[in-house]
């Protein structure tokens, strides 16, 4: 408990200023920032939905039959939540920390290291919310979202965004140079992308792979996002909600601790 208090002692609302700085940069480049989350779902829908979907007529999911496109669409929203927050606090935070020395500049002001880390964490989560909202809009135009249940994606992407941002900061805190990000990318992020129920239900996997898949954070996020987008609140959702809440809290505390160690020697 005292360790936790130690971590939280220096956290303050000033972290909002760091978040605001990142937002200002985002708004300066909004044209290029908006395009990827807008075009990404369209690409996926064409490639996998129409391409692969014409080979697979229907998918059996949670005891019901649905078209491949309808099955896959929520999966790519979940993937976007992971990618946008994780990439923000790995590659982008690393550039700010290491190449631009933005954190050093901020630390000469009344902000403390904890404010900087929390600001980065919240900004990473914000990127996840922005991306999932845009994608939800596009998928909605294609008739692939059921409303109002689909709105649950927003709070989900806040929690999942914090979780993946914190995961990214933990990775950043132990990364010496920018090319080292490739390792966790191929050992952690890509396997999640492949095996967390994005392109097929995890239930069709062999038993032991199935068990591993349910340990991965993205599987739970996919599961919850799919329930929201399809409007099927069935199954043991509460366990997945608990999983991402607890993991978001644990990883955030760890990110604060490790990043502080990285930044102050």
């Amino acid at each position: 408990m005292s360790a936790m208090r130690d971590i939280l002692r220096n956290v303050s609302l000033r972290s909002f200023r760091v978040w605001q700085r990142d937002l200002d940069v985002y708004l300066t480049n909004w044209k290029t920032e908006f395009l990827p989350p807008l075009s990404e779902p369209i690409l996926y829908v064409f490639a996998f939905g129409f391409g692969l979907g014409s080979l697979i007529h229907s998918v059996r999911y949670e005891g019901r039959e649905l078209s491949y496109l309808r099955f896959m669409a929520p999966g790519i929203v979940a993937v976007a939540i992971m990618f946008w927050s994780y990439f923000e606090t790995t590659y982008s935070s690393f550039v700010r920390m290491y190449y631009q020395r933005t954190f050093d500049a901020i630390l000469a002001t009344p902000l403390l290291v904890e404010d900087v880390i929390l600001g980065e964490l919240l900004w990473g989560a914000t990127k996840a919310v922005i991306a999932s909202t845009i994608m939800l809009g596009v998928l909605s135009l294609l008739g692939l979202v059921s409303w109002p249940a689909g709105l649950w994606v927003i709070p989900l992407s806040v929690v999942a965004g914090v979780m993946f941002s914190a995961l990214g900061l933990v990775v950043t805190s132990v990364t010496k140079n920018i090319s080292s990000f490739n390792l966790p990318m191929f050992l952690m992020v890509m396997p999640m992308f492949m095996f967390s129920g994005t392109f097929f239900p995890v239930s069709i996997l062999p038993r032991w792979v199935f068990a591993i898949a349910w340990c991965l954070p993205l599987t739970h996020v996919s599961y919850l996002v799919r329930a929201a987008v399809l409007g099927w609140p069935r199954g043991p959702l509460v366990w997945s909600v608990l999983y991402i809440l607890v993991l978001a809290a644990v990883l955030s505390a760890l990110a604060l601790r490790l990043m502080k160690r990285r930044l102050i020697q």
């Binding site: 200002d24 933005t102 050093d104 500049a105 630390l107 000469a108 002001t109 009344p110 403390l112 102050i264």
Partner: protein
């Protein structure tokens, strides 16, 4: 009770910083009076930057204490950082924003209201002669302009203490003098300045007092003039293309003799008659008789061997 006019702006007591087995700073104590300009000199690795980074709350000291206007850097870092302006060794301007926006965003970190910070930013851009660059991207600025902008940024919170880590390293003479002029005008406003530098001329030009560091310790401190007088005297004789009899002759005179490569340095105790003496005895010897400078003090104290 000490009155506020005599209150020192910076107090450091037995500061040390250890990284594993390496002791970067080994028990450094000093004071900087309010309104004083003090320069820290020393070769690379002397511990200047580490000391400065401890004072500005970037690094926690391993042992010892430091305070700015009686506020402890470890206990209340936010309050210390409100009082100081920091100009780091490496430019860390925000490349994602143009010049003016850099200052506006920086002001937000201090919680200064937008209107106040905007007026102040425009004033400071005029002060560092960058008004016409207000909307230029950072990447388009020259090295000297970047340094001036970093200085303006360090002044945004109207600091009582300004900490400058090598403010003019790598600048051309014009840019260097431009920075010096600004630092001098801050002195007239009563701002306390602590700077580190490799340039002895910079220290002589700007500083009321210099502190020479090497190997993580303070070797000595004093006013530039007094230090030169005390440590090397008034005059230095440099000679080249000399023969052994000239060396023998110098050995008979009171003073310190040093041979570096193919050059001879002589620091006479009595400098009044040196020139006449040389004209009589060795009229054709190639030589230069000049005033002793802080650089001579520096090299005497820290040696001529390369450090890196």
């Amino acid at each position: 009770m000490a009155t506020s006019t005599h209150e020192p702006a910076i107090v450091a007591r037995e500061l040390t910083k250890r990284y594993g087995d390496v002791e970067a700073v080994r028990g450094v104590s000093f004071e900087v009076g309010a309104g004083e300009i003090v320069g820290f000199l020393g070769p690379n690795g002397a511990g200047k930057t580490t000391t400065v980074r401890m004072l500005s709350c970037f690094l926690p000291p391993t042992t010892g204490t430091a305070s700015i206007h009686d506020i402890d850097v470890r206990e209340r870092p936010r309050d210390v950082k409100r009082l100081i302006g920091v100009c780091p060794q490496e430019d860390n301007l925000d490349p994602d924003f143009h010049v003016l926006k850099n200052l506006l965003v920086y002001g937000r970190y201090f919680g200064i209201s937008h209107r106040v910070v905007r007026d102040r930013a425009l004033e400071l851009l005029a002060f560092v002669a960058l008004s016409d660059k207000a909307h230029a991207p950072i990447a388009s600025l020259s090295g000297g302009m970047k340094r001036r902008l970093v200085l303006a940024r360090a002044l945004l919170n109207e600091p009582r203490v300004l900490i400058l880590d090598e403010p003019t390293t790598g600048l051309d003479p014009q840019a260097r003098h431009a920075i010096w002029t600004r630092i001098r005008s801050l002195r007239s406003h009563g701002t306390t300045v602590l700077l580190t530098t490799h340039y002895m001329e910079e220290a002589s030009q700007l500083c009321d007092r210099v502190v020479v560091m090497d190997g993580g310790r303070i070797l000595l401190e004093g006013s530039p003039l007094a230090l030169v007088e005390r440590e090397v005297g008034r005059t230095v004789v440099e000679a080249w293309n000399y023969a052994e009899d000239f060396v023998q002759f110098l050995r008979t005179l009171p003073g310190r003799l040093e041979e570096v490569g193919d050059r001879l340095y002589f620091y006479p105790e009595e400098s009044d008659h040196v020139e006449r003496l040389f004209d009589q005895r060795f009229p054709h010897q190639e030589r230069l008789i000049r005033r002793a400078t802080l650089e001579d003090v520096f090299l005497k104290l820290t040696g001529r061997a390369l450090r890196e």
